[in-house]
C-alpha cells in the first residue's frame, strides 16, 4: 500500500483478505452461480416491495420535490443563519476530530494487542502458546462487537446515558472507529516486517522494544495514512450523528428539513459538499505525496484542531464520571439485558431482518452498477477537452452524492415514495454510489495500462482494447469493493430506518421512542448476526472466485 491511494487503504478493512492460496477454494462456474443468485434475490426483493398492498408512490410529494429543487438556486444566505451554520459545522468537525483522535489512540493500543505478531511471537512451552492463541482470539472477538454496531446506534445508546452532551458525538465515533482502526492496525503491524521483529526477539529484546524498533518504523506511514482516512469517514459520520440528535450541522439539517425551509437546507447541502471536497482533497494530497513534511504538517494541524475542538465543545468530564452517569449506565445495562423480542415476536424480527438484507443488497447492486458505469468516465486519464469536462462532471456528481449522508437521501426519496424499504434502498444506493464510484475511479487510474497499450499497438480499435485490456483487470477490484460496500450498506440501513425507511432501523427507532431497551438490544444483536452473515457470504464469493 506504499503506492498510496484510497483503494489501497480500504482494502485493509475487507474481511478474510489475502488468506490462503489463491485458487484453493475456486469453484468452476461460481461467478455465474453467484451472479444468478444475486439477480434472483434482487428480483424477489423489488417485486415483493412493489407487490406489497398499498400505494408505493407519494402522490402528494411531487410539488414539494419540485419546490425543493427550485430552492437550490436561492439558498438562505442571511448573516444570522450563516453564523449558526458555521457554529454547527464547527461542532460537527469537533466530533470528527476528537472522535478520530480517540479512535486512533484506542486503535494503536488495541491494534498491538490484537496483532498476531504480539501474541504468536517466540516459542515458549505448549500451554503458554495455547494461552497466547486464546488471548489473541479473545481480544479479536472483543473488537467485533463494537465494530458491528453503527455509530448512530451508539449515539442513541449514549444519548440515554449522557443526555444531550457533546461527548455523545465524540464517543459514538470513537467506539466503533476505535475497533475498526484496531483491526486494521493489527493487520498493518502483522504485514510489516516479521523477520526483523523475530531477529530482534532472538537477541533477547522484549516484545515491546522489538515492536518499537523493528515494526513501527516500517508501519508508520501506513498507520498515519489510515488515521487520516478514518478522519474523512468521521466527518461524514459526525453529520449523521447530528441527524440522530447529537447536535451539529446534521441536527440543523433535520430542523430545516422538517420545517420545509428548503432554502436553508440548500445552504447546508452546499456546506456539506464543500466540507466533503476539502477533506477529500486534503486526504488525497496527503496520500499522493506521502512526503514527510506534508504528514508532519498534517499532524500539527490535527493537534491544533483537537485543541480548538476541545475549547469549542467544552466537554464536562466531571459529568461523565459522576455518580449520576454511573447510575444511568448501570440502569441502561440492566434494561438492555436480557435482550427481548419486538412487539410482533419472532415473526416481526425475521420479517424486518429479511427486509434489511433486501435493502442492503438492492442498494449495493444499484450503487455498484452505477458506480462502475461512472468510474471509467470519472477516472483522470487525460483525453481531449470534452473527455476532461465529462470527467469533471462525473467527479462532481460523485462528490455531491457522497457528501449528503444517507438520511438526507432518504428524506429526499420520501418526497417521491411512501415510507418503506424502497426509498431506504434508493437512499443507500445514492450515497454508496458516490463512495464506490470514487473507489472504482481510483482503481481505473492506478491500473497497469501496458496490456491495453499493447493491444492498441497491434491495431485493436479503442472499444475492443478497453474491453480486453482494462475491464477484466479492474473487474476483480470492483467486485471486491462492491462486496465491501454491501457490508457497510447493511449497517447503514439503520440510519435510513430512523427516518422511516423500513427494516430493522425503523424497528429500532420505534423501540427507542417507546423506551423498549430490551427490544433495542435484541434488534442490535440481530443486526450483528446479519453483519456476520453478509461477511460470510462475501468471503465465500471472494474465495470461490479467486
Amino acid at each position: 500500500m506504499s503506492r498510496g491511494g484510497l483503494a489501497a487503504l480500504t482494502r485493509w478493512e475487507e474481511p478474510g483478505r489475502g488468506r490462503g492460496r489463491p485458487g484453493r477454494w475456486r469453484v468452476p462456474g461460481a461467478g455465474r452461480a453467484w451472479a444468478g443468485a444475486g439477480l434472483l434475490v434482487m428480483a424477489w426483493s423489488v417485486s415483493s416491495w412493489v407487490a406489497e398492498d398499498g400505494p408505493l408512490v407519494n402522490t402528494r410529494g411531487w410539488p414539494m420535490f419540485v419546490d425543493f429543487f427550485t430552492a437550490a438556486l436561492k439558498p438562505e444566505l442571511s448573516a444570522d443563519f450563516l453564523a449558526r451554520i458555521a457554529e454547527a459545522t464547527l461542532t460537527t468537525l469537533s466530533y470528527a476530530v476528537l472522535g478520530t483522535l480517540l479512535a486512533v489512540a484506542v486503535g494503536l493500543v488495541a491494534g498491538v494487542l490484537t496483532s498476531e505478531t504480539w501474541w504468536a511471537s517466540g516459542s515458549g512451552s505448549r500451554p503458554r502458546r495455547a494461552v497466547r492463541r486464546a488471548g489473541w482470539l479473545v481480544t479479536r472477538l472483543g473488537l467485533a462487537l463494537p465494530r458491528g454496531i453503527h455509530e448512530a446506534v451508539w449515539a442513541l445508546l449514549l444519548l440515554s446515558v449522557l443526555g444531550r452532551d457533546p461527548l455523545v458525538g465524540v464517543l459514538a465515533i470513537a467506539i466503533p472507529f476505535g475497533a475498526i482502526t484496531a483491526k486494521v492496525y493489527a493487520e498493518i503491524i502483522d504485514e510489516a516486517a516479521r523477520g526483523p521483529f523475530e531477529s530482534l526477539r532472538a537477541t533477547g529484546a522484549g516484545r515491546g522494544t522489538a515492536l518499537l524498533y523493528a515494526v513501527l518504523p516500517v508501519a508508520l506511514p501506513d498507520l498515519a495514512s489510515y488515521a487520516f482516512y478514518r478522519f474523512e469517514c468521521a466527518v461524514r459520520s459526525a453529520v449523521i450523528l447530528g441527524m440522530v440528535g447529537a447536535g451539529g450541522i446534521g441536527f440543523e439539517l433535520v430542523l430545516s428539513f422538517s420545517g420545509a425551509r428548503h432554502a436553508e437546507v440548500w445552504t447546508q447541502v452546499f456546506v456539506l459538499v464543500l466540507l466533503g471536497a476539502v477533506v477529500d482533497r486534503w486526504g488525497a494530497g496527503l496520500r499522493r505525496s506521502g512526503g514527510r513534511v506534508r504528514v508532519s504538517g498534517s499532524v500539527l494541524l490535527a493537534a491544533g484542531l483537537a485543541v480548538a475542538a476541545l475549547v469549542h465543545l467544552g466537554p464536562d468530564l466531571a459529568r461523565v464520571f459522576s455518580a449520576r452517569t454511573a447510575g444511568l449506565l448501570a440502569g441502561l445495562v440492566d434494561e438492555l439485558w436480557p435482550p427481548a423480542l419486538p412487539a410482533g415476536g419472532w415473526a416481526r424480527l425475521v420479517a424486518d431482518a429479511v427486509e434489511t438484507l433486501q435493502m442492503s443488497l438492492v442498494a449495493a447492486t444499484l450503487a455498484g452498477v452505477a458506480a462502475v458505469a461512472t468510474a471509467f468516465l470519472a477516472a483522470r486519464d487525460g483525453g481531449g477537452p470534452v473527455r476532461r469536462a465529462a470527467g469533471a462532471a462525473a467527479r462532481g456528481l460523485l462528490l455531491f452524492t457522497r457528501s449528503l449522508p444517507p438520511p438526507v437521501w432518504a428524506l429526499l426519496a420520501l418526497f417521491l415514495f411512501l415510507p418503506g424499504p424502497l426509498p431506504g434502498a434508493l437512499a443507500l444506493a445514492a450515497y454508496n454510489f458516490g463512495i464506490l464510484g470514487r473507489l472504482c475511479a481510483e482503481v481505473v487510474e492506478n491500473l497497469d495500462r501496458r496490456a491495453h497499450d499493447q493491444l492498441v499497438a497491434s491495431g485493436a480499435p479503442g472499444l475492443s482494447a478497453f474491453a480486453y485490456g482494462v475491464v477484466p483487470p479492474a473487474g476483480g477490484r470492483f467486485l471486491s469493493y462492491g462486496l465491501y460496500r454491501w457490508e457497510v450498506a447493511m449497517r447503514e440501513t439503520v440510519v435510513v430506518g430512523v427516518v422511516g425507511a423500513g427494516g430493522l432501523g425503523r424497528l429500532l427507532e420505534d423501540q427507542r421512542v417507546a423506551f423498549d431497551f430490551g427490544g433495542m438490544a435484541g434488534t442490535v444483536l440481530t443486526l450483528i448476526v446479519l453483519s456476520a452473515l453478509v461477511d460470510l457470504v462475501s468471503t465465500a464469493v471472494r474465495r470461490t472466485l479467486r
Binding site: 492498441v456 497491434s458 472499444l463 477484466p472
Partner: protein, 251 residues
C-alpha cells in the same frame, strides 16, 4: 521493398539522443537481432518500428509506410500487420488463455465481435491450434495469471501467431528465463516466422550475444544510439563482440 528502413533517424529525449542518426534496412523475411549494452537504444528502435515513438529527424518506413504521417485508420491497419512480444508479456492476467490468444484478432474483429467473444470465445479451434503449436494446448481455458512464466510466454507467442503479422518485434523476449528455456523459446519464436507461403520478418532485441548468433540471420550491434556492428550471423567473431562490449573510453 524493405520491411523496415531507417535513413539518418534520430530520437531525442530532452538532451539525450536515444537513437542517433541510424541508417538501417531490414529485408522481408530476415531475422535481425539487436544487441548491445543497456541504454544503447534497442527498445527505442523497436518502438520506432511500431509507431509508438516518432523520429525527431530522419526518414522512417515500416512495411512501406511512415507511421508518423498516417491517419488513425491507416495507422491501425499498419499495426495489425505488426506483432509484438515483450519482456513483461503484457498479457491480461484475469482473462483465460483463450481470450489472451484471441486478443490477436482484435485488429481485424469489429467491436461487437470482440465483445461477444468475451462472453463465449469465438474461433476456439484456431486458438487451440496456436496454443498446440507453442506446446501448451491443454491450457486453453486456464486463467492466464495462474500459468507459470514460461507458459505465459507461450500464450504471448500464440497471440502473435493468431494475429498473423508480417513483421514481429520482440523486446527482450527471453531475458527473464533461464538459459535452457531461453534457447527453447527463441527456437519457438523463430519457428513461428516460417509460414507455408512466406516468411515473417523478425526484429528481436537480445541481451545474450550467443542467442543472437545462434538464432538470427543478422546481428546489429548498437551503442549510444548508433550502429557499431552489422554483420551476417555467421561472420560474427570474437573481435566483433569485444568491440561492442568493450568498456574502454568511447567516441
Amino acid at each position: 521493398m524493405a520491411a523496415v528502413s531507417l535513413r539518418e533517424v534520430s530520437v531525442v529525449y530532452g538532451d539525450r539522443r536515444a537513437v542517433d542518426g541510424i541508417t538501417l534496412q531490414v529485408n522481408p523475411g530476415e531475422r535481425v537481432a539487436l544487441v548491445g549494452p543497456s541504454g544503447a537504444g534497442k527498445s527505442t528502435l523497436l518502438r520506432l518500428c511500431n509507431g509508438t515513438v516518432v523520429p525527431s529527424s530522419g526518414r522512417l518506413r515500416v512495411l512501406g509506410e511512415d507511421p508518423a504521417r498516417l491517419p488513425a485508420g491507416r495507422l491501425r491497419a499498419l499495426r495489425r500487420r505488426i506483432g509484438a512480444v515483450h519482456q513483461q508479456l503484457h498479457l491480461i492476467g484475469p482473462l483465460r488463455a483463450v481470450h489472451n490468444v484471441n486478443a490477436g484478432h482484435l485488429g481485424r474483429w469489429g467491436r461487437w465481435r470482440a465483445l461477444r467473444s468475451l462472453v463465449r470465445p469465438l474461433q476456439v479451434g484456431q486458438a487451440r491450434e496456436a496454443l498446440a503449436r507453442v506446446g501448451i494446448a491443454g491450457h486453453l481455458y486456464s486463467r492466464t495469471d495462474r500459468l507459470s512464466g514460461g507458459e505465459q510466454q507461450r500464450v504471448a507467442l500464440a497471440r502473435v501467431l493468431v494475429q498473423d503479422p508480417d513483421l514481429v518485434l520482440a523486446d527482450e523476449p527471453v531475458s527473464s528465463l533461464d538459459p535452457a528455456r531461453a534457447d527453447e523459446v527463441m527456437r519457438l519464436l523463430c519457428g513461428l516466422m516460417e509460414e507455408t507461403h512466406r516468411r515473417r520478418t523478425l526484429v528481436v532485441s537480445l541481451h545474450d550475444f550467443d542467442l543472437a548468433v545462434r538464432h538470427c540471420d543478422r546481428v546489429v550491434g548498437l551503442r549510444h544510439g548508433r550502429v557499431v556492428l552489422d554483420l551476417p550471423a555467421d561472420e560474427v567473431d570474437e573481435q566483433a563482440r569485444e568491440r561492442l562490449y568493450d568498456l574502454g573510453p568511447d567516441r
